[in-house]
């Protein structure tokens, strides 16, 4: 009996050693409300809360890492972190390089933020962040695309007149428009993207399955909807 107890204890111990493996979550930290750096210098936002909850449900120990948007996929692929959680929409183009979990936000229409309501979107100059679905959308229309490395710079481009409007997720543009009288959200919206998902290495099928299950459980018990509502991300599930 004693021996049996000892063996189970040893087994439990070795199991917990295996659990000590840290999953590193990579984010941009510059795209509120999805992810941003709060006053105390930590990653905060919808995805911070979501990621922490997912890790809890999947019984993973997680660590947050910030990385430039430009190199966020290459750094995942080379193994600097294990998950991209950075408001990244699921697209076929990205899916060729990495894998996505199921989406944790609904496909959300992107909005235009401009200095005045009568801006010519069709032929004007539109700012977007490099490597986003919005950037490739603008490139496919007749408008002139100007790209910037960070979301912040796209807004600054509209403020200083370099661009007529900026195309981005409405959840990001909303709070900006609320506090700046000089900027308005246009009525026109573009339905692009297939919702936001977690980006995972293609070889990491196990992690993908674990996180998929965790997202599903959050969808099922409504806790994901509560978070979406709290951070005003958009349409609920």
């Amino acid at each position: 009996m004693n021996k049996l107890l000892l063996t189970t204890a040893a087994l439990a111990l070795s199991a917990s050693f295996a659990m000590a493996e840290t999953t590193r979550l990579g984010t941009e930290g510059a795209y509120p409300p999805y992810n941003f750096i709060n006053d105390s210098g930590e990653v905060d936002g919808f995805e911070r809360e979501l990621g922490d909850e997912l890790c809890k449900r999947a019984k993973l120990t997680c660590e947050w890492v910030t990385n430039d948007w430009d190199s966020i996929i290459p750094n995942l692929v080379s193994g600097n972190y294990d998950v991209i959680i950075a408001g990244m929409s699921i697209t076929d183009e990205r899916d060729e390089v990495i894998d996505f979990t199921q989406n944790y936000t609904q496909p959300d229409p992107s909005g235009y933020l401009a200095a005045s309501a009568d801006v010519d979107i069709k032929n004007g100059v539109i700012a977007a962040q490099t490597g986003t679905i919005q950037a490739s959308f603008v490139a496919s229309t007749g408008a002139t695309l100007v790209e910037f490395a960070t979301p912040e710079e796209t807004i600054a481009a509209v403020r200083n007149g370099e661009a007529d409007a900026v195309l981005a997720d409405k959840a990001y543009l909303g709070p900006v428009a609320d506090e700046d009288d000089g900027l308005v959200l246009l009525e026109q919206e573009e339905l692009i993207g297939g919702g936001v998902g977690l980006g995972i290495r293609e070889s990491d099928g196990e992690l993908k399955a674990t996180l998929d299950a965790a997202i599903q459980s959050m969808k099922d018990d409504g806790s994901l909807n509560a978070m979406i509502e709290k951070w005003e991300i958009g349409v609920k599930f």
Binding site: D39, S40, G41, V77, S78, G79, E202
Partner: protein
């Protein structure tokens, strides 16, 4: 930080500013100045060492060593810094992990390269997946120092290569006449005298190195430029206690002042070193010093 900072919205003027400038985020910003200074403090001597050995190799009488030195100088000097930083660091990191993988996980049968992915066993990860965040940061920082040292070492090697040639031939001949071996002449005559010729070039490099530190963020180290950009960006009241507009100008202005002060101090320091090194040298500077007291 201060006790009156609990409700920043009620504050104004200097009290607000004092609270704003002492948030955890700002502390990280101030801390990153230390990171940059530490990087410079470590990189400069290491790069100098690389440069010295590069230059010695390039003028060696052993052919393969000479090839090695010359290739190092030509190759690294020719590749753009930014390409070097993006490519070399990832390659170096993968090489380390690949080697550890081969040694630590011989039973592993799956290929390391799976499509786009670079997959090694958990034990070969560098640093280990279970390591705390500071280990990852230190590792990144070390890679940064090493990369900076290689890049700037190549430039330093070229400068010193030239400086070694600039030492008057007569000095070396005299050494030979005294019966010194090549090695002795190198150590006793050439090296002490070359610094005066190398210093202007090395001083330049130091200045360039100071200004090249923002490349750190490419390597995942959060440096002062990253924080200035992050904190200067406009903040809406929804996501921060301290909303403000686009303040990047002020943050970058602070960086400008920092860099100018730092380079000015460096200039003064380098001038002093130059004065010391010139003493008793067969250069116009040395000659002027010799005549001055008379």
């Amino acid at each position: 930080m201060f006790s009156y900072c609990t409700d920043p919205n009620a504050l104004s003027g200097l009290t607000w500013l004092s609270c704003y400038l002492t948030t955890g985020k700002h502390m990280a910003f101030y801390f990153s100045f230390g990171t940059v200074l530490l990087l410079l403090a470590i990189t400069a001597p290491v790069a100098l060492l690389f440069g010295f050995f590069g230059a010695s190799a390039a003028r060696s009488h052993i052919l393969p060593l000479r090839w090695f030195g010359k290739t190092y100088i030509a190759l690294v000097r020719g590749v753009p810094d930014i390409a070097f930083f993006l490519f070399f660091v990832i390659a170096l990191d993968q090489m380390i992990e690949w080697t550890r993988h081969k040694i630590l996980c011989p039973e592993w049968t799956e290929p390391v390269r799976q499509g786009n992915d670079f997959v090694v066993c958990q034990a070969a990860k560098m640093p280990l997946g279970s390591a705390p965040q500071w280990v990852h940061e230190t590792y990144g920082f070390t890679l940064a120092v090493f990369t900076f040292a290689i890049v700037f070492g190549a430039f330093a090697a070229n400068v010193m290569f030239g400086a070694m040639r600039a030492v008057p031939r007569a000095q070396m001949e005299t050494a030979e006449a005294y019966g010194m071996t090549r090695r002795q002449a190198f150590r006793r005559i050439l090296v002490p005298q070359m610094w005066v010729y190398a210093l202007p070039g090395l001083g330049n490099l130091w200045m360039v190195l100071i200004k090249a530190t923002p490349l750190l963020f490419l390597l995942g180290v959060e440096d002062i430029v990253y924080w200035a950009r992050e904190m200067g960006g406009s903040k809406t009241s929804k996501f921060t206690e301290y909303p403000h507009g686009d303040w990047r100008m002020w943050y970058f202005f602070a960086l400008l002042v920092f860099y100018l002060c730092f380079t000015r101090i460096s200039e003064i320091f380098l001038e002093r070193v130059m004065k010391r090194l010139t003493k008793g040298q067969a250069t116009t500077g040395g000659e002027a010093q010799r005549k001055a007291p008379a």
